[in-house]
Symmetry: C2
Subunit: 347 residues, 2 copies
DNA sequence: AACGGGTTTGCAAATGTTTTCATAACCATC
DNA sequence: GATGGTTATGAAAACATTTGCAAACCCGTT
């Protein structure tokens, strides 16, 4: 059971002080700036801390103007390959800075996002990271009013009001589409994610469509389907479209999960990739390179975004005065593997 | 910028009190037990809170003996399909209870796990969830000394000292192996995860090996390889083994990621599944059903574990006296899809 | 108008830590 | 052994909230 201090609670700084025969102030200094306490005293305190099993209390420290040491991350969803790499990088970068990560998922619901931001404010997070650039006004108002350092992740557009660290989703869409166009595709199926509450998905599709229309090609309504971020469901939806007689020569997938679904759909229908059908994704998730053939995709520097975001936020916390320009538009890279080829003569 | 209260900081409960012309105590009651404050007063406070943009401060509340409202989860890794479903369920179940989730990953390093537990103790989490049953003594000592309610997740063995919510990993291994045996396989390759700091992986392999040896079959050293939880690397390792002349008739994969790697390895070598090679996994991750053919596997009730764990911990926090018996051994289910068949006559 | 009972509110103490300012201890030098 | 200059420590205030206790209030009865 819990070892109790004098007052029946967990041992506090004053219990340690008593035992080490010093004042609480000295114990505080022992932790926050050990060098200014004499060696002999330090040893006595060290021993007392060890005997009592004292653990510092960050909640209390935050009272006197200190920080809580926890940083909030508000994310659409956790159980998805999309963000988990970034999450991991963010989390471990924070750990190296001695911070911990409070995380909350809103399930692509911006109204819920506002609630989560409020809840994280109650926890007095030292900083906040949100995904995407579009948020409810009350969400942003809350953050501003509380004066919480914040950054918007994953999407990048120039001239934003908030620090943003991400990449150009429109460009990602364009790069993928242009690759298909360059290979000679003229009939492309656009399988993209639901765009409500998801500016990233919207930007990608816009980029892709702009490229195609810029090439003077039409994009009929029937060539656009909305897929969830789920391999199984994407597979079924895309298979449904492919089964119809008039088959596109290529599929532009809003992300790798959808692309993987497309690949399986093709396999299940006996359609050869890339001979009879080309597929391109966005993301380059772990595992996309293992497919047979390997998925051609646009690589998103997920780990880098997580790392940069953590560093940026900690920097802002530690030097509140300095007005850093935390804007990073991470470079994208087209990864050509085996799922894209020129359209067959038949197509 | 941040809207400041009278004392230059964020508005506090006393700023609200002043503005509503009541005492701080009443404001406190307004939040914690609204019914005991009169309607007229309540309205005045509501207005003051709104005007000032006051946000309650959980860290402060915890001072007077209250809870911080955050629950810690210590996990081997985030960026992996393995845990993310559980994570999501855990997180959203906590949210419905008005709690937030502090999460930290140790990268399958139990020494680091101890550090993380200490760090979470400093944050005064109300409860703690760890993955697996084996932990450093100092980790457990820390939790006990601090009196933090804790639960061990993901693995289940009877008669544990700690509440545990998970499933029988040994049984999972046995179920998978027995399925292969029942189909007539006699030469099985065991592709399992590194077992240091991973009791789940060890239990699964033990279960599988026991089943095979119980059937009187040998398991030569060459039929056991260690794979990381990574599709690409698993694919390469397994392809290396399959390329060797003497090929097994089936692969037992320690989890679905490894199994997926095996499937791609087979495809890349032109080995037909299930005709020339059977593959079975453990986990039934999202997407495993989309493979062609669908992956035969043992389903782990990941979401259920997350949900149960969250409920159990919150229950323990809210009724510290009651001595709940929080032990759940979630049932497993063999999911037969298309990757397992009888060994070909040639095998 | 005084009374009575329940409901609502205020006062003040308590919580664990940091921090400012003042004092005490130390050490080298004369 | 007195002096002066560091350096190390202590006392007390401050932080934002909750809570036990007591006082004030309200409203219907006498």
């Amino acid at each position: 059971m819990a070892r109790l201090g004098k007052r029946g609670r967990l041992p506090g700084i004053v219990d340690v002080a008593e035992r080490a025969k010093v004042s609480p102030a000295t114990v505080s200094r022992y932790f926050n700036d050990p060098d200014i306490v004499r060696y002999r005293t330090r040893e006595r305190i060290r021993k007392a801390v060890e005997d009592l099993g004292y653990v510092r209390n960050r909640a209390m420290r935050s009272m006197v103007g200190g920080a809580t040491g926890s940083i909030g991350l508000v994310i659409p969803t956790i159980d998805n390959a999309i963000f988990s790499e970034m999450l991991q990088a963010f989390s471990s970068a924070l750990a190296t800075h001695g911070r911990t990560m409070l995380i909350a998922a809103h399930g692509y619901d911006l109204a819920r996002e506002a609630v989560l931001v409020h809840s994280l404010s109650e926890q007095r997070v030292d900083a906040l990271a949100l995904i995407g650039l579009e948020h409810r006004p009350e969400t942003l108002a809350q953050i501003e009013r509380q004066g919480i350092p914040a950054a918007m992740l994953w999407n990048y557009r120039p001239d934003q009001d908030w620090p943003c660290i991400g990449f150009d989703n429109e460009l990602a869409g364009r790069l993928a589409a242009e690759h298909l166009l360059a290979l000679g595709h003229r009939d492309i199926l656009f399988a993209t994610a639901e765009e409500r509450s998801n500016d990233r998905a919207a930007d990608r599709r816009r980029g892709a469509l702009d490229a195609v229309r810029g090439a003077g090609l039409p994009v009929p309504e029937g060539r656009r389907i909305v897929c969830p971020y789920d391999i199984r469901m994407s597979k079924e939806l895309i298979a449904g479209t492919l089964r119809a007689g008039d088959r596109p020569s290529a599929i532009f997938a809003g992300n790798d999960v959808i692309a993987q679904g497309a690949l399986f759909a093709a396999t299940s229908l006996g359609i050869r990739v890339p001979d009879d059908l080309s597929v391109i994704g966005i993301g380059d998730f772990r595992g996309s390179d293992a497919f047979e053939p390997g998925l051609t995709t646009v690589r998103i520097p997920a780990r880098r975004i997580g790392q940069l975001a953590a560093d940026a936020l900690v920097e802002t916390i530690d030097w509140p005065e300095a007005d850093f320009h935390h804007e990073h538009c991470c470079p994208l890279e087209l990864i050509v593997r085996g799922t894209c080829g020129s359209p067959s003569a038949a197509g």
